[in-house]
Symmetry: C2
Subunit: 319 residues, 2 copies
DNA sequence: CAGGAAGCTGTTAGCGCTATCAGTATCAGA
DNA sequence: TCTGATACTGATAGCGCTAACAGCTTCCTG
């Protein structure tokens, strides 16, 4: 018992005893068994984080925000990957909950019924992140992707572009957030009597090369476009490089825009218009909710909507 | 007891009982407590993976390889991040081992003494990845970064470049692998009587922008360089974009090379010379060792050296 | 000097599972 | 008929820790 107290820095132990215990632990290479500790104390210092993909570049930054805040709370993030599959997500949720974590952070507000049921039953804080267009199980931190899409469309229309095309992932059912952005985008177009002139879909991961190829294919098919709206910055950057190489007049003859506010864009020959997704802030706020550190003092059921800012860069005509 | 059997699919249970148990579990939203299960069975289906950073782009691909192999073994990867700090790494190792995982995969072969002691004591398979220039605690999978640096230098020398500079991270003590590459690189240079003409260091994360800035600063200071060796592809790509914009003759007047074989490079206007670090394969092989699925049948203490291949791209003069 | 607080150490009883073994029922084969 | 195998279910005893409390000593306060 005294050993337990020393190793957890809890309760009063005399200095001499503490020294002796630590020395013994060191010399034996003793590592306490957290499994037993967790079972006895009913406390687990882990926070599950479920994201669709590690390679997306979006999530590392969210993780950074989370780690930053959890750092001095004694909580540890544990990452699970769902590969954009609801079934896989369900399994990961089950797996994580069976370890009784102190909280769960997961991307998106769309889940299978079974997942929602498990989350609702879990009895620990649940934070759904990235997206707030929907009904969260408990808390949520994110932006409205629908609104983000609309806002971008309005900026594009205001700049005078009219023959607009969309380039994005082919699985609108899977990357729900990209789909919502597109919905908002088309909504805003139709309000001024416009529709998308063309669209180009792809499957698999996003890459510069993919962006180039899609752009080339699209412009070959429909040469008289004056704006290309990409579902993310990576393919947008590829498209931009392609346009510049072909000597197209950007943003005079043709404008471009992506989404995410990726650091990558800062190094490109010209800065792609984009919209920052507040990733760091989303990570921070979600961790605060789990750690019970919200300044508001609210516990559970909080929905925090962040406002993405439009970064017009050099690929949309200015006023 | 019968419930336990049903939920774990172990032992004989009559079909009717099984149905009843599953139905009850479903309707109660019951999620078994793995903590108790693990304590009782002394088995934990988790594999700890400790990497220096999530934003490095190198590690997501390693993770992909790991997940792929663990997929059908019932084992689950759990990610920890050390931020290139040995102290932090030590904490993460301690934390992970205290959960008694089925194995541990960690980047690099350099660790604090305390870390090495813990790993040696752990009693589970340990795989050190990425780097094999050193003495692993147990198994290791990776490439020789020293050799990789040497190989690149030889290719550069063979192409006739003589006034060579290095651009890389400022903390040679932290990113040990970059340092080893540089050591191998300089070794090969000195064998033909050359030394680095100049070098430029930076701190913080790698980005295209950083690559541009460093390249500009370096060439301003030492204009007559004919080769720039970057410690990674991201800053190399930034440098390449800068050189192309300035209208420099690449690879005629000046050559460039990076390291990693990043997908990003495929979309650039010109393809940067690089060396692929076998990341996917490293992930796969390390997971195989943990899962005990090595075709060799060897258990523990295996060192697998992979051979990185030089990809000359378009930024080294061809013979 | 009583009374109580504070400092320290130890005892006991679980936490929610699983390993192991015991027990019952059924059935084939000798 | 009995034997032994097979199918199934249940009882018991931990896994390695911590919460809660008990007990002792010391020290302070009035």
């Amino acid at each position: 018992m005294t050993v337990s107290r020393v190793l957890r820095n809890r309760g009063d132990v005399s200095e001499t005893t503490r020294e002796r215990v630590l020395e013994a632990a060191r010399s034996l290479g003793y590592v306490p068994n957290k499994i037993a500790g967790a079972l006895a104390s009913q406390r687990v210092n882990l926070v599950g984080v479920i994201i669709p993909s590690l390679s997306n570049m979006v999530f590392p930054e969210v993780m950074t925000g989370i780690s930053e805040v959890l750092e001095d709370t004694g909580l540890q993030p544990v990452v699970g990957v769902s590969n954009y599959s609801h079934d896989r997500e369900e399994q990961v949720i089950y797996e994580m909950l069976s370890w009784r974590p102190s909280g769960l952070i997961l991307a998106g507000v769309e889940h299978s019924d079974a997942s929602r049921a498990m989350l609702a039953q879990a009895g620990v804080p649940i934070v759904e992140i990235m997206d707030i267009d929907g009904t969260p199980v408990d808390s949520a931190v994110g932006i409205s992707h629908r609104r983000a899409g609309r806002q971008m469309a309005e900026a594009i229309i205001a700049a005078g572009y009219r023959r607009i095309a969309f380039l994005g992932t082919h699985m609108p059912s899977q990357d729900t957030r990209a789909r919502k952005r597109l919905e908002g985008f088309e909504e805003a177009l139709s309000q001024v009597g416009l529709t998308l002139v063309d669209r180009e879909y792809y499957t698999g991961g996003s890459s510069l090369l993919k962006g180039r190829e899609m752009t080339e294919a699209l412009l070959k098919r429909t040469p008289d476009l004056d704006f290309l709206y990409y579902s993310n910055d990576m393919i947008g950057a590829g498209g931009l490089l392609w346009c510049l190489e072909k000597g197209l007049d950007v943003p005079g003859k043709i404008g471009l825009a992506g989404f995410n506010g990726m650091e990558l864009l800062d190094g490109l020959p010209r800065k792609l218009a984009t919209m920052d997704a507040c990733r760091l802030e989303i990570g921070r706020k979600s961790a605060e909710i789990i750690a019970g550190k919200r300044p508001s003092g609210v516990i559970g059921g909080e929905v925090i909507e962040l406002q993405p800012t439009l970064q017009p860069g050099d690929t949309i005509r200015r006023g």
